[in-house]
Each structure stands twice: as C-alpha cells, then as structure tokens.
Amino acid sequence: MVESQIDITAGPPPDAPPNAEPVEMLLNMGPQHPSTHGVFRMVLWVDGEKIVAVEPHIGYLHRGSEKLCEGEQYHQVITLFDRLDYVANFNNELVYCQAVEKLMGLTVPERAEYVRVILCELNRIASHLLYVGTIGLDAGAMTPTMFAFRGRERIQALFEAVSGARMMHNYFRIGGLKEELPDNFEQLIRDLLPLLREDVAESDKILTFNEIFLSRLKDVGRISAEDAIDFGFTGPCLRGCGVEYDVRKAQPYSVYDRFDFDVPVGLDGDCWDRHWVRIQEMYESLSIVEQALAQMPGGSVASSLGRRLIRPPAGEVYARAENPRGEMGVHLVSKGADRPYRLKVRPPSFCNLSAIKYLLKDSWIADSVVILGSLDIVLGEVDR
C-alpha cells in the first residue's frame, strides 16, 4: 500500500501565513468527491470556513498516455488522443493529426478540413454544455444539467451517425478522415442546428443571469490578466480576464481563417466571466458551423496516404489548436520510425489548474467547488 504523502500531524504547509496557527482542520477533498470533476484531490488547510492553504494532488488518473504513444504506430496513437480530454475528443484528434501532417508536409483535402471544423465546433458546444451542467451543480442548481444534457445528447447522436461512436470516435486520420460523411448528414445537421441553438439559449437563460447564480459566481475566484498569463492560462479562463487570445485567431489553423466569428472576452476575470465567455463561445461555434456548412466543398475526404504505414521524416514539430478548455499543444519528435520517438502534450486543463493554489487561498470552502468548476478541468487531460 502506498503511504499517504500528507502527514496529518504536521503543521501548516510552508507557504501558509504565519498567523494561520493553529490550523484547526485539514480537509481532504477528493479524489472521489463529486465536485472535483473526476478524480482530483485537494488537501485544504482550513481555519473555520476559510481556506488557508491548498495542496493539490494530481495523478490519480495517470495512465502514461505520453509513454504509451511511443509504443503505438502513428495511426494507433489517435485512439490514445481520444482519451486525453474525454469530452472534446474530436479537438484532440485534430491537434495530433495536425502535428503529424505538419511533420510530413501533407495537405489535407479541402472537404476534410471543413468536416473537421464542423465536428470540432460541435464538440466544443458539447463540451461547454457539459460545463454548464456541472457549474450548475457546483452552484447548487440541478435543473441546468437536464437542459444541458439534452443538447449534448443530440450532438452525440450526430457523432454516432458520423463516426460510429458517441465519444471515442477515432474518426480523423493523418491527412484526411476515416470515411465520407453518411448520406443523410446534411439532413441530420439541418435538423440539429435549430434545436441546438434553442438548447444553448435555454442553458443561457436558465442560469447566466439568475440572481442566486450571480451571487455565487460574481467576484469569486478573481484573477488579474497579468497573473493569468503568468500561470499559463489559455482558453475561456484567460479570455474571462479580458485577454483576447484565441489560437483560432492568433495563429489560424485548418480553415479557421475563412470564418467570421468573434472572440468573446470578459471584464473582471472572476468565475462568472469565465462562465459568460463559454456561453458566448457556444453561439460563435454555432455560427462557425453554419458558415462551414455553407462553404463546404465537394470532393474526397480520404487521406492521400491511403492505408500505407506512416513513417514521417526525422524531426521535431509543435502543433497547437484551440480546444474547448484552451490551447492544446503537441510536441512530436520523430526519428523516422513507424512510432513517435517522443510525444509531449501541453494540456490546457493542467496549466489552468496550476493556479488553484492561488485562486483558493483566502476563499471559503463553499466557493472552492465553484472556483474549481469554473476552471472546467478534465482530469484525463491533467493526469494523462
């Protein structure tokens, strides 16, 4: 049995303020706590209801994904990327495929790029809808979960029709897609979009400006733009602080430079701003999907590589993309073999979570759940 790293009899942590003595209680939150969004463990030193210091413990869901990638052939690695951020599977696949394509200098068929964008943006909405549900639960509202999951279910049904799986799709291929979209795809997505717009609007209406919700989230977990950049924040968490940074705009990949969309930014960098940014992003994603559908060209989606075994030339490459949680990066080192020599993932959740010590200090225990929820972490990605 592994010994606990925390000595309960010891005093407060080194970074606790000197006047924190005596520490009245050490509160162990997680890893099986329902509001840690997975298996995240925090050890809170609390003085009454006030949090004096936090010791986050990650690694409960560590599966060694990066090491496993070194043992799998390039086309098999896609299955591992599905399982990193398990609520934004298409976005993960896209980053990895982009990395290998960049290394090999491949061009992807135009139609495949559009299909990728449509699926990624739908996945972003699905991911943010899950967030709306969970932040509702964290703030004490049960109903938004039901609304959010209804919309999410519709998107997942479409994903099942396209890729054959609701979550672990394995649909993107290096240089293309696995197969052409189903024949009834046009009909399916035309039916889906108005319903989805309704779902997003309902999730927005039921929660965002609710007085109780506002008082739970406004001015809670505040972080300045400078601090957020120092912590390596990306995605909605950074944009909530007022920094207009989106990889889709800053360094357009795939065909994102052809769409007209806004990057919503918050003002104060508190929990509610992060929430508001995500809600607005869903509307933007819907507009991107509509534009992509209108522009979608015909042609093949198959990779020019066919079914050949992939052996990219020796070299290093870094590819990044805007995931629902922020900037996801893949650093790939190849030595010319059929398997990656080294593959490093830069997960957005991990970097956003690194601020938890700073954010939770001097807040209330009840707010810790909301602050963690507003960071919207996925532990599959944090622990890898």
Binding site: Q76, T79, E153, S163, G164, A165, K178, E202, I206, N210
Partner: protein, 187 residues
C-alpha cells in the same frame, strides 16, 4: 429577482413539453436504437456463398490492434482441397478479449478479406473478470446476426461497384466527346 422567475417559467414550460414528448427513455425495458455506423464489439462475418468464414487468419488485424486484444491461427482450407472454395487458408482459432477491446474499428479498416465487422452488439457485461473472451463460433454467431439484421455488403464488393460505376461514367463521357468530335468532323 426577475431572472430567477424567468428561469422558473422556462422550467415549468419544459415540464409540460416534457410530459407530452419525453426526452428520456426507459432504457433497459425500452431498447435504444443505434445508428447504422454504430461501432459495437467486433465480430467475424460468414460467407454464405461458400458456407465458411471470410477470415483466413492472416493476423493483419492482430498486428494493428492498439490493445492486443485478439489472437488467431490459420489452417489449410479443406473446402479448397475439394475445390469448393477459392480460399487456400482459413481461420482455425480466433479469440477476442472484448474486455480489452476499445472499439476503435482499426481491425475492420485494415482487413483485406471483409472478414471482420464492428457489430451492433454492445450489451455484453459479465460478472467475471475475463467473462468476455469470445471464441470463433461465438464471434461468427454475432457476425451472422449482424449480417442478418443489417444490409451488410462486403466493403471490397462495394468499392469495386463504385469503381466500376465511375469507370462506366468516364467511358460514357469519353464516348460522348468522341461522338461530338465525329459530328464536328462530319460537318
């Protein structure tokens, strides 16, 4: 205060729509339909023309499986010796540990003999740790069930039909151009 009331009204409104058209389904009693492309557990297909499995035990799926969940071996095909089948080798033993399988569909993609499919079977929980190690007869049974319930056409046959159609279209186009040229030449 007003926004809370608005949210409450929305909840009430969807309660009434929900009563009329419920979104949820009583799942175990009411079966959930799956999409045609749904990837359930892999299964082996049966060649009804020759009455033998499509699988030759070539092991390409086993080499490409990310989780190493399968094993197989091949043997000389007795039907080939009798002249009934064009397959010289046939699968002798095949086992998939469905507890290990991650339903990625790579095995189907790499198969050269249309031998393996992602069936629609997904409710296969067992109480034992290795309760889902499925052998050849069971895999063929799942595959045949899949073939019966869907209009499964071997992918190579489909690809060939598509290619033939494209070739025919191209030929027709070429003939048209030729005819037009002939007409022009005649003038």
């Amino acid at each position: 205060m007003l926004n809370s009331v608005k949210g409450m009204l929305l909840t009430l409104a969807s309660t009434f729509t929900g009563l009329r058209r419920p979104v949820t389904r009583q799942y175990p009693t009411v079966p959930t339909p799956v999409q045609p492309r749904f990837m359930g557990f892999p299964a082996l297909t049966w060649d009804n023309g020759v009455n033998e499995p499509y699988c030759t035990g070539c092991m390409v799926c086993i080499r490409n499986c990310p989780t190493q969940c399968m094993s197989a071996s091949m043997m000389d095909n007795p039907l080939n010796a009798e002249g009934q089948s064009s397959r010289r080798k046939i699968v002798d033993y095949f086992e998939i540990n469905l507890n290990r399988c991650i339903l990625c569909g790579i095995c189907v993609e790499v198969c050269n003999f249309d031998a393996i499919v992602m069936s629609h079977e997904h409710e296969m929980s067992t109480y034992e740790r290795n309760g889902d190690r499925v052998n050849l007869p069971a895999l063929l049974e799942i595959g045949q069930k899949y073939q019966r319930e869907t209009t499964w056409i071997p992918p190579t046959v489909l690809a060939k039909a598509k290619k033939d159609a494209e070739d025919a279209a191209k030929a027709a186009e070429a003939a048209k151009v030729e005819a037009a040229a002939a007409v022009e030449g005649g003038e």
